[in-house]
Amino acid sequence: MTTLEKTTEDILQLASAHFKVPREQLNPTDDFFKKLGINSLQALDLLTRIEQHFHIELPDYELQGVSDFRTLAERIQSRL
């Protein structure tokens, strides 16, 4: 069973690798739009990478109002 902590860590690693932000600069409560400096198209890119990594389908409307890594992890966790 994947824990919320593990899911959060996986997202942070994914975001760090793809958007070239050092992992140690990212925290679970960070606003990922601000911290990664991404726009809506790049957010879609992150969503696709998340779906591929976790082998899930995450409708984008479930991300409405979600801007921090921890809440994003909770949404993913509910689909695992």
């Binding site: 739009f33 809506s40 198209l41």
Partner: protein, 267 residues
Amino acid sequence: MKSFQGKCLSWRISDGTIELQLDRAPCNEIGSESLAELEKFTEALESLQRDAHALIISSARSEGFCAGADLRELYERSQSLRPADRIAAVRAFLERIHRVMNAIDGAPLTTIAAVHGVTFGGGFELALTCDLIIADKMTRFCFPELRLGLIPGFGGIPRLKRDLGNAVVRDLLLTGRSINATKAQSVGLVSQVTGEGDALRVARATAAQIGKFDRETAMAAKRFIKTIPHDELRREIEIFCELFTKPAVEEGLRKFVESTDALPYLP
């Protein structure tokens, strides 16, 4: 014209394959300039197709294949017209884009959309005119039109319904959600999913394979299996124009154009 370099797109012919490449910042939004160049392409297609067996449509933009209609231009153009003239202008645009889409849909060539990234709205509808869709694994498909109080207007619903089950069409249309390439392949929309940045190469390899077959036979097969849903396409224009008169559409367009939201594509 064997090759063309415009402001929004280019085309060339190589080894019996016509390659049409969209290239307008930020993500190939289709406005009046793109439409004029697409019309130029469909005119040229008459002579290009004599020397070709396949057509590949792709995008040079890293953001994706095409984000759909140029909503900013649509809104600004609407605002510059008297309300009574707005519908006539929208209808004229739709009639023109439908002629382009129908010409590509029925072209006597095997047509391939090589897509990546954002393939939304009118971009999705352009891909649906093609015989095959080859998608980079980072592609996302979406019909976000309902958030504006509209339906897709470039032929999307009839063409998606032609290719897929009605339940899938309803899901995409009524939720406005985007789906990735793997999901799109699982429902039968995408013929091949490629690695990142590899869709055009795979499309070229597929076009080369198609070139081994007798073209007349291939076209007989295409005509037999792929009909253009003309009646539904006409109906789509009517519904779009009816909806466009509603105040909610103007408000939706205004909100989108003025939005500073990080996720403006979401309803």
